[in-house]
């Protein structure tokens, strides 16, 4: 009886893992399949969909836009998010908790609502031209909560006596930050930046509504799914997947981040 319920649990666990991973594995698998249909039999192994994709100039434009946006977003978001988290961590809880919740509200809202709100705001109120810049601003809003939460969580176990000693020995706050605080929390900050990278690379709705012309990788994929289900989608989806998943994995490795 006990033995069979044990087996039942393992069967259930395996089923959930299969459910979570199979769709993603299939996409990667078929990106190397000879057959133009995303179906078995997939035929021999081939690089032709990647060759076709790499010959497409639109793909490279989208790729460059994605990297430009993500590059700026990661740097700015990590800097301002870390600054905020370090300060919040030293505040009274009655002050820091409401601020923390407020700063995280943007990721609890439907992205569609943020996207249309930003669109109306840019067009009707600010009067700014839609461009990569407006996309970057939107991405800052939805990446900084992740940076803040991760760094804030790390500071819960930070030994503040180290900072006090540095200050007692005459270091100013900048020197203390650069020589004491930052080296200790460096891996957490890098991890937070990589999560911001994954979120930015994968962000679709805000980008879609505030980019006007041009594409990023997700909007490029969107266009392809909508018009023709051509087999290069598997290849580009795999590239997108490798980018976001590898930054998540590295992030968790370096920061040993726990939920």
């Amino acid at each position: 009886m006990n033995r069979s319920s044990e087996w039942g649990w393992w069967g259930f666990g395996a089923l959930v893992v299969v459910f979570m991973t199979t769709p993603l594995i299939l996409v990667v698998l078929f990106s190397f399949g000879e057959s133009a249909l995303t179906n078995f039999p997939m035929g021999g192994i081939t690089w032709k969909w990647y060759d076709e994709l790499f010959a497409n100039r639109e793909f490279w434009k989208a790729f460059r836009n994605s990297l430009t946006i993500a590059g700026v977003v990661v740097v700015v978001s990590t800097v301002i998010g870390t600054m905020a988290a370090l300060t919040l961590a030293r505040m009274r809880p009655t002050l820091s908790q409401p601020l923390l919740i407020a700063l995280c509200l943007p990721v609890m809202m439907p992205p569609l609502v943020i996207a249309i709100a930003l669109l109306v705001y840019y067009v009707r109120w600010v009067g700014v031209e839609l461009s990569l810049f407006t996309v970057i601003l939107g991405h800052l809003l939805v990446t900084q909560p992740f940076v803040i939460l991760i760094v804030y969580a790390r500071m819960a176990t930070f030994n503040y006596e180290l900072i006090d000693s540095a200050r007692d020995l005459g270091a100013n706050s900048w020197v203390t930050f650069l020589t004491v605080t930052l080296p200790i929390i460096r891996s957490t900050v890098i991890g937070a930046g990589l999560i911001a990278l994954a979120v930015s690379l994968d962000e679709f709705l805000i980008t879609f509504f505030t980019i006007s012309g041009g594409n990023t990788l997700p909007t490029f994929v969107f266009g392809k799914i909508r018009t023709e289900m051509d087999p290069t989608i598997n290849a580009i989806a795999t590239i997108l997947l490798v980018l976001t998943v590898s930054s998540t994995i590295i992030a968790m490795k370096v920061s040993r981040y726990r939920a």
Partner: protein, 277 residues
């Protein structure tokens, strides 16, 4: 006050929040009371948007709530058992399973939708397998473009998000309370529902709230997988901004949806907390 002055380092983040979240949402709320005259949207104070939204889109709204609530319940239930497995049964493999959940969390929102489209399609992988194994003679058209396909893809997308808060709240449960239950003669079901469940209510509420809210606000999943049967309100909100340019109506729909969703979350919270008795 001195604490506030010292906290200038939070200013950039708060500026991003104020300038790109509070201000745009406030404007959107104001716009929901504007009126649409021919092809222009003009400042006004009327309830046309709300009236149109309630009259023309109440059925899509209810469909959205139905899909989102069932997705939320299914996702939270699977997540609860999976979290229990990770925390109490999987031993040293628990961390690996959690790691897999986290990895799939950030991996490709659109990629997942596309994957489900190719799995469930008429010439998709599942149909080919079913026909190949002789389980059905004709490919099933009913796998795609309905509520079920939307709920399946959403559950797949939301499961990692729901697992995390429940695992986090289960970390605080001491093994000894389970043993105590067992020693007092409680069966496995009794322990699960009577000992574990009450101790991780906060995680369950968070998991349901997250998965329900994200499901209700999603629009790409129903757009690609929903057909007419699985249509959801997000698609119609988006089209007011991309094709029809009826901003007041779109904004009113967005705020009505958020208001209804908040009500559902509060009711669910009440139900779960009340379950204590």
């Amino acid at each position: 006050m001195r604490e506030l002055i010292k906290s200038w380092k939070t200013v950039p983040s708060l500026a991003v929040l104020a300038g790109l979240f509070v201000a745009p949402l406030s404007l959107l709320f104001v716009v929901s009371f504007w009126s649409k005259k021919l092809f222009r949207v003009v400042p006004d104070f009327v309830f046309d948007g709300y009236q149109k939204a309630l009259v023309s889109y109440w059925d899509v709204g209810l469909n959205t709530l139905a899909i989102a609530i069932s997705t939320g319940i299914i996702t939270t239930t699977i997540a609860f058992f999976f979290a229990f497995f990770i925390r109490f049964k999987a031993g040293r493999y628990g961390d690996i399973l959690l790691f897999i959940s986290l990895v799939t969390l950030f991996g490709g929102y659109l990629v997942k939708i596309y994957a489900w489209k190719s799995i469930l399609g008429l010439e998709g992988i599942l149909n080919t397998a079913l026909v190949g194994l002789g389980i059905v003679s004709e490919p099933l058209g009913a796998l795609l473009y309905n509520r079920g396909s939307v709920a399946t893809a959403l559950t797949h997308f939301l499961l990692p998000i729901a697992v995390l808060p429940i695992v986090a709240s289960m970390r605080n449960i001491q093994d000894i309370t389970l043993e105590a239950g067992r020693d007092l003669g409680a069966g496995p079901v009794r322990i699960l529902l009577g000992v574990v469940l009450p101790q991780c209510r906060a995680g369950i509420i968070a998991a349901f709230a997250f998965s329900f809210l994200i499901a209700a606000g999603d629009y790409i999943t129903p757009l690609f997988l929903g057909g007419t049967d699985g249509a959801m309100i997000g698609m119609f909100i988006a089209s007011q901004f991309s094709i029809r340019f009826d901003w007041p109506l779109g904004s009113a729909m967005a705020f009505l949806t958020m208001f209804s969703c908040l009500t559902v979350v509060l009711i669910a919270r009440l139900a779960i907390v009340r379950g204590r008795k």
